[in-house]
Symmetry: C2
Subunit: 458 residues, 2 copies
């Protein structure tokens, strides 16, 4: 027998006291209207379709600049009180047209292609590519146990996301270091390249990209991902022919940083205009699919939060500000720039909400705050449940808003997570993978949270 | 300002007392294993694929009998202690091959086809079909306000599911009477047929069927559904040409009742074998898609609950019984037959869980029970949350298990609902619309509930 720990308890504990508070009928009715309006109009969903038609939004790309202008224009058309672009220097990595891998030396598998995608930030190859034997490893410990077998070879990190984790983000967390640091670790032992099993919950052949890094003290070797099916094929092929060789050609490269922008729009508070509630997502994406769930959805939903206030003629007491952060996927320059601005301004950032977990049915909010504020926030649940929010728990907010200092609370908006890793950073992340009702309930949930924060304070 | 009502309160109120109970470490670890095993093995999901390959399961159809044998065989292979078929006389409605509708008299739209499906139980037409003008109505009040305009015409019930309802089941409930009773109401005023706008959340052209009824005192007129897009087209066409005519041909008919079966399997309890916990769904489906979500999923998940006990070598204290009810969609003869058996047996039915809301990520359980039992059940939440169950609330169980008398608690298992009405009773309800992780978490959630009921009692 074990006693519930405080943390386990706090997951389920919604105190009696929260509910001795009276419901504000006006806010309750407004919350209902928000949900109904979002679901019936599907306006944000139409916006997302428009955004996805522009294409993916790799920082520095033409699409990215078009999208920035598109968002600015939508905010102006919606009648936000202020709309501006905040300059940010952002990294500029380009994929180019060449991404090829095939088996070149093998009795059984010669010329068999592997469907690959360069990891974000990878160096390219020369026109002949790299060619080498494949050394499969499960993790860094496995790699370290074979120091003499790696030199001149391509390391194949073959550890899948742990499907047994109920939370795909936990499964992702358990596998992602082979993608982020795999090239560094492999280079220590003289590897010439890296192939990473995609971190995915889907049994297809779509490779998933994502950021990876180098250190200046080691050779920078090319790094690519392969999908679930090709990873299984390669595993099987290597069991039959451990000395088969693979050739990889990549044209990707890093260009000098470029001037880009955070897109910011706000509705000014009628009573406390200098108390700011931020709602936002990241406006960059990988150049796979169209970044529909990651994070076109979170951005458009943040825009729709303010648009719902305008549509319903709600004049908030406090300022609601939508921030679309550039460059979350790589170096978070957008978040740092905004946080600096927030720190230096005379305004008080009361709270900030980040939406960067896909556009699925709402489940809850993680709140990075003190216990008494959390306790108070849970009195919002009867309103938030109108949009299918069942809980507010202690937890991390998000990469972008977490850089803002001195707020009372930072929130991570939490939709259902089971399908997210099917699409994340891959060609599966398209508009068609977003469900209109699930999408709109996210907008509604965050709009209600902003309404309550704005009207009740914190 | 309004005070929270007791009902609103009870939605959020998880009492402190529930959590002063100690967690049973053994049950907690078993619950974790159940989740992990379901997610990793995906065995139920593979079963669902097999079942879907058999085809849809309209009672009396060859597919239905094949599916019954398939389920029985799977239960035997899984090593359930007893497996049997319970005879049930079930209705036998057949669609036949002919389902056509087109505009026959019109300047602009002549020969334009409408994609239709007969409603379940509808009479057919002769080979020339029925031909008449269309009288669009919003609801029965609208129909009653036009008593003189209906005679000899086809009534077009044009009320959509209310998208503004956060709960699609509520939207469904608000629109379904035009399908179930539309033919009766229209026949009162001399209509010759009925077209119903499909009750759907999806903006496609797929018609959704479902049960409809007649009374012997009125003419039995044919009734069909059309999809979202054709309903919009017809609305627009009628606004331009109110006197256009439509011809509908149907070959569907009702045959004499047939002998069919509930499929039942159980693992006998080691300490209280005569205390029964039922978990089940309905094994009939409409003949659209393959009845994957409705309710192949609920049935296969119920089978998997017991299979997870076998896989993990869990010997329950109480008997866990899987019941696949035939004929839920039409007359619930399977549920009535099982309830009669339960009533007449010497066994005590402690609890019964129905899974008939699709295979989406778990959210909660509705419990039809007394307040003190509900209060006690909420102490299960720390275990159930391992499979993403966030709440247990007072609520209805399901059409089938609600017929079982004298249980301590009847449960309706509640997954996320936002996508259900996209597929319900339509060609969209196919295996490919079921997500493996979402599916398996349903199995896990119900297995944990059965484990707790079995080990802790009620």
């Amino acid at each position: 027998m074990i006693r519930l720990t405080f943390i386990t308890l706090s997951i389920f504990l919604i105190s009696l006291n929260s509910f001795s508070q009276e419901l504000d009928k006006n806010l309750f009715e407004l919350s209902k209207k928000i949900v109904r309006t979002a679901l019936v109009d599907r306006k944000g969903y139409q916006w997302l379709e428009e955004l996805c038609k522009i294409g993916p939004r790799l920082p520095g790309s033409e699409n990215s600049f078009k999208a920035i202008q598109w968002a600015k224009q939508k905010m102006i058309e919606s009648g936000f009180d202020s709309v501006w672009l905040q300059p940010v220097m952002a990294p500029h990595w380009v994929r180019g047209n060449l991404e090829e891998a095939k088996i070149v030396k093998s009795k059984r598998f010669k010329s068999r292609k592997l469907l690959i995608t360069a990891l974000g930030g990878s160096v390219g190859t020369d026109k002949n590519g790299i060619t080498g034997e494949i050394i499969p490893v499960y993790n860094f410990d496995d790699l370290k146990s074979k120091p003499d077998k790696v030199k001149g070879k391509i390391v194949f990190y073959n550890r899948p996301l742990d499907y047994g984790e109920v939370e795909p983000f936990a499964g992702y967390g358990g596998a992602v270091n082979q993608r982020t640091s795999g090239a560094i670790e492999a280079a220590k032992y003289g590897a010439i390249g890296v192939i990473v099993r995609s971190i995915t919950t889907k049994h297809d052949n779509v490779p998933h990209t994502g950021v990876m890094s180098y250190v200046d003290t080691l050779p920078k070797i090319p790094a690519v991902a392969i999908g679930y099916q090709d990873a299984n094929f390669l595993t099987e092929a290597l069991s039959k022919e451990p000395d088969l060789q693979v050739n990889i050609k990549l044209s990707c490269k890093k260009l000098p940083d470029v001037l880009s922008y955070n897109v910011i729009g706000e509705i000014r508070g009628s009573e406390y205009p200098d108390e700011i509630i931020v709602v936002g997502g990241h406006f960059d994406s990988w150049d796979k699919g169209c970044g529909a769930h990651d994070d076109g959805a979170g951005c458009v939903q943040s825009m729709e939060v303010l648009d719902l206030f305008k549509r319903l003629n709600i004049q908030p007491k406090r300022t609601i500000r939508c921030v679309l952060f550039i460059d979350e996927e790589q170096t978070q320059t957008g978040a740092k720039e905004y946080a600096k601005f927030a720190q230096e301004s005379n305004q008080k950032h009361l709270a900030a909400i980040e939406a960067d977990r896909g556009a699925f049915t709402p489940r809850g909010f993680y709140a990075d705050t003190d216990s008494s504020t959390l306790y108070y926030l849970q009195s919002f649940l009867p309103y938030l449940n109108l949009a299918k929010i069942d809980w507010i728990r202690k937890g991390g907010s998000g990469v972008d808003v977490s850089k803002i200092k001195n707020t009372k609370a930072l929130f991570g908006y939490v939709p259902d997570s089971q399908r997210y890793m099917d699409v994340h950073h891959s060609d599966n992340d398209v508009f068609e993978a977003v469900h209109p009702r699930e999408f709109e309930l996210c907008s509604a949930a965050m709009a209600i949270m902003c309404l309550l924060l704005s009207e009740k304070g914190l």
